[in-house]
């Protein structure tokens, strides 16, 4: 099982599942992190506490803790 916090910079991945409590899940979904969506980690902060991901037509910043809630599968 791979989650968003583990994938390398610039690696493409598809979202498989979001396993977070209701509030966070809603927020992630409403920002466009839907199952099947392609994402890519484009930037990480110094200690990799915070990452910036690109998805569809927008970019979202989240902490590693939140990224752990997003299960992904590497895309070729």
């Amino acid at each position: 099982m791979v989650d968003l916090s583990q994938i390398d910079k610039n690696q493409r991945a598809l979202i498989k599942n979001i396993s977070a409590q209701h509030g966070l899940k809603k927020r992630l979904q409403s920002l466009g992190l839907n199952v099947g969506q392609e994402v890519q980690v484009v930037e990480t902060s110094l200690q990799k506490n915070t990452i910036k991901i690109a998805l569809g037509f927008s970019s979202v910043a989240l902490r590693l803790d939140e990224a752990k809630a997003v299960e992904v599968e590497l895309a070729s």
Binding site: R27, L31, G56, R63
Partner: protein, 755 residues
């Protein structure tokens, strides 16, 4: 005249406020990050037949989960009085924006979709077939651009047409399995003729299947419910099975997502993928792992450097202008009291505040750039890890930066923090971010006590120091008063946008006008008040006593050499108090004992010039007279409180007057020193006077105190309103005062020791 009330609803940062401005010519606040609008605002427009009222609401990602600002929108949508919704969408991010649209369509209100940012979409090769979209949804969809005003009139016309027509249900179509179940429920309702005012059968069915509370509340009390329940259970069972999911929220979300996706494939065509890449390229530098933070710090440093050095130039002109004005006007007025009121009260007070307008303008230009380019969320990204260590949230950055402008909007901006504790914590430390009104104090003192080429750095250091204190305070509060869970940090990063010059100009201009207005009204009144209570009651006895002494001195001027000793002696009799000579004015009361030997030496030296002695006596006279005035008495009363910090009573009074508004600190100092310093008035600037009268240690303690103590009363009132708690407001007052006092005390004592 008919009235139409319109609710502008959409996801954050899609240009709702910009669109409202484009439609009505209003000046709502615009910025390139999520959460600019946090309170509903109204813009008005008149057409031939209608008075249109646009209600600009905070953006929200979905109708379900919300922070305090999103709640404003949700509440207005549910309870507010409006005729139709204009749903604003970002054409360059259609699919995600449609997620909110699907929820809005279920609200069963008249609705128009404004596909905003058409100019950007075209540039990015994104084409939306608005006609097809209107047909599919049965809702008018108009491509508009708030920036170029493309189609804005068409949008208004469409709004009026929709308003005039009866409500036509929109066509939101779900998956076939869900549609089947909806049909079953609808048929049952039709058979039983079950009506709910204003809703079609299908809408009731959707409400029931999606388990909407409002619908249940009505249906539940109806006898029909007994028969309805099994049908519903059955339908839900089917839906759950079909979706392989037994959470209704999740089912709804998937249905909406599928609809949005389906719609996009029909109406959206993308020919090139460009815009994202520009933003990504800039981000590769600006939020680079190693470069990001240094660049951020450099930019902040540059801003404060410019604020000081660039602001310095016009500041000199303004000060000279007011000096000239004071002299010229002073010469034409015979009445002493009136002359003093105008020259020492109004011109000195208001002038000392206006002098800092250039600095304020540069600072606000910096903040405007931060807000409009998109760098704001990058800074939040860069600082989140750091903030997190101190128990703060990355998103706290936005209210904190707003706090560099003014605390009032900053408290409101804290609404974007979802967690109440995060929000309160952020609000508590907003005061540590020195607001624009404190800038004059810093510029004045930095200019007075430091060389010109380092003063900009000092200014930067003051702000950084304040921010660091704020972080430490946050940590302390986090482990004591506001213990709590970490709030997740998820934030959209908008693309970079070049703000139009017009927008920048307006943002800075409106702030400057506000500052001028404040100077012309509030500061003016405060200066007059301070002048009055520091000029009255007049004390003739002191005047006469000193008058006699000075005359005596003048009489002996020729035989000065022999009589010196005597006059020094007599001077000591009459004034054992602290300020004996202008130079000794630096010595604050608490320090009189310590520095007494120095005083004597200086006097011995000065004894050589009778003129100096006369000047000293004059100064002393003014000092004495002022101490007998209302303000002087009040100042003496608060002096013990401030004495351990090295403040004389004037500084104490200025500090307290700053509670009304921080600019008043400077105007009060201006008035007090203008009144008390008539002797060496030969065009001494306020800066020089301050330098002459206040010791370095006291001045630094003063800066620290001003940096930390309570924001002005207006801000405190807003704090109370936003925090909705007396307890927290009292805590804020005590916390800021105690911290300010202790830190100023430490600063003063340490500086005394090392110097």
């Amino acid at each position: 005249m008919n009235k139409i009330t319109i609710a502008l609803v959409g996801q954050p940062n899609v240009g709702k406020s910009h669109l409202a401005n484009a439609i009505s010519g209003s000046n709502l606040k615009i910025g390139n990050f999520a959460g600019v609008t946090v309170e509903k605002a109204t813009a008005k427009l008149r057409t031939e037949d209608y008075a249109i009222e646009l209600i600009d609401l905070p953006g929200l990602y979905s109708l379900e989960d919300f922070s305090a600002d999103e709640k404003v929108t949700k509440e207005f949508l549910v309870k507010g009085d409006y005729d139709l919704i204009v749903n604003v969408l970002d054409s360059t991010n259609l699919e995600r924006n449609l997620m909110l649209t699907t929820e809005l369509l279920e609200l069963n209100k008249k609705i128009v979709l404004a596909l905003n940012m058409d100019d950007e979409a075209l540039k990015e090769g994104i084409a939306i077939n608005a006609e097809a979209m209107s047909k599919i949804l049965s809702v008018p969809c108009i491509r508009v651009s708030s920036k170029t005003k493309f189609n804005v009139e068409t949008l208004v016309d469409t709004i009026i047409t929709v308003h005039e027509k009866a409500l036509a249900p929109s066509k939101l179509i779900y998956g076939s399995e869900v549609e089947d179940q909806l049909q079953t429920i609808t048929r049952f309702l039709e058979d039983k003729h079950f009506h709910i005012e204003g809703l079609s059968y299908r809408q009731i069915a959707v409400g029931l299947l999606w388990q909407k509370r409002e619908i249940y509340a009505i249906v539940h009390d109806h006898p029909l419910y007994v028969e309805l329940q099994p049908i519903l259970n059955n339908a839900l069972g089917h839906v759950y099975m079909y979706c392989q999911c037994d959470e209704i929220d999740e089912v709804i979300h998937r249905q909406h997502a599928a609809f949005a996706k389906g719609l996009c494939t029909e109406v959206l065509s993308v020919s090139k993928i460009k815009a994202q890449s520009i933003t990504q390229k800039i981000d590769a530098v600006l939020i680079h792992k190693f470069l990001g933070l240094p660049i951020f710090i450099f930019l902040m440093w540059a801003l404060f450097q410019l604020t000081f050095t660039l602001g310095e130039i016009p500041m000199g002109w303004i000060e000279d202008g007011f000096g000239w004005l004071g002299e010229t006007i002073g010469e034409t007025i015979d009445n002493e009291a009136l002359k003093s009121l105008i020259v020492d009260g109004i011109i000195a007070g208001v002038g000392s505040v206006l002098m800092f307008l250039p600095n304020i303008i540069i600072l606000f230009l910096g903040i405007a750039l931060l807000e409009t380019t998109g760098y704001m969320s990058r800074a939040a990204f860069l600082l989140d890890g750091f903030f997190h260590k101190f128990g703060l949230h990355g998103k706290s950055f936005v209210p904190l930066v707003t706090g560099f402008g003014c605390s009032v909007p900053a408290y409101m901006a804290a609404r974007t923090l979802k967690n109440k504790k995060d929000r309160l914590l952020t609000m508590f430390i907003i005061g540590f971010m020195s607001c624009g009104a404190r800038l004059p104090v810093y510029v004045l003192f930095a200019g007075a006590f430091f060389e010109e080429d380092v003063a900009g750095n000092v200014l930067f250091a003051i702000y950084i120091f304040g921010a660091i204190l704020g972080l430490i305070a946050a940590k302390i509060l986090r482990v004591t008063a506001f213990k709590g869970e970490d709030e997740p940090f998820v934030m959209e990063m908008p693309k970079y946008r070049l703000p139009s010059l017009k927008l920048l100009w307006f943002m800075v201009y409106s702030k400057s006008v506000l500052y001028l207005k404040k100077a012309g009204t509030f500061i003016l009144l405060a200066s007059m008040l301070i002048w009055f209570i520091s000029s009255y009651p007049k004390n003739d006895l002191i005047e006469e006593a000193y008058g006699a002494k000075i005359e005596a001195l003048q009489a002996t001027q020729e035989t000065a050499a022999t009589e010196q000793e005597a006059s020094v002696a007599s001077k000591e009799d009459s004034a054992q108090a602290q300020e004996a000579t202008p130079n000794d004015g630096k010595v604050a009361s608490a320090e009189t004992d310590k520095e007494a030997p120095a005083t004597e030496q200086e006097e011995a030296k000065e004894g050589t010039s009778v003129e100096d002695q006369i000047a000293a006596l004059e100064n002393e006279k003014h000092e004495k007279i002022m101490e007998q005035t209302y303000l002087g008495m009040a100042g003496k009363a608060v002096e013990p409180f401030f004495a351990p910090l090295g403040f004389d009573w004037k500084m104490g009074v200025a500090t307290l007057s700053g509670l009304a508004a921080k600019e008043v600190i400077v105007s009060t100092l201006g008035v007090l020193y203008a009144l008390g310093d008539e002797v060496n008035e030969e065009d001494a600037s306020l800066r020089d006077i301050i330098k002459e009268n206040i010791s370095f240690a006291s001045a630094m303690a003063f800066i620290v105190f001003v940096m930390v103590y309570l924001p002005c009363l207006a801000a405190t009132a807003v704090f109370y309103k936003e925090a909705e708690s007396i307890k927290h407001t009292v805590l804020l007052v005590l916390f800021t005062f105690a911290t300010a006092w202790i830190l100023a005390f430490i600063t003063y004592r340490v500086l005394l020791l090392v110097s």
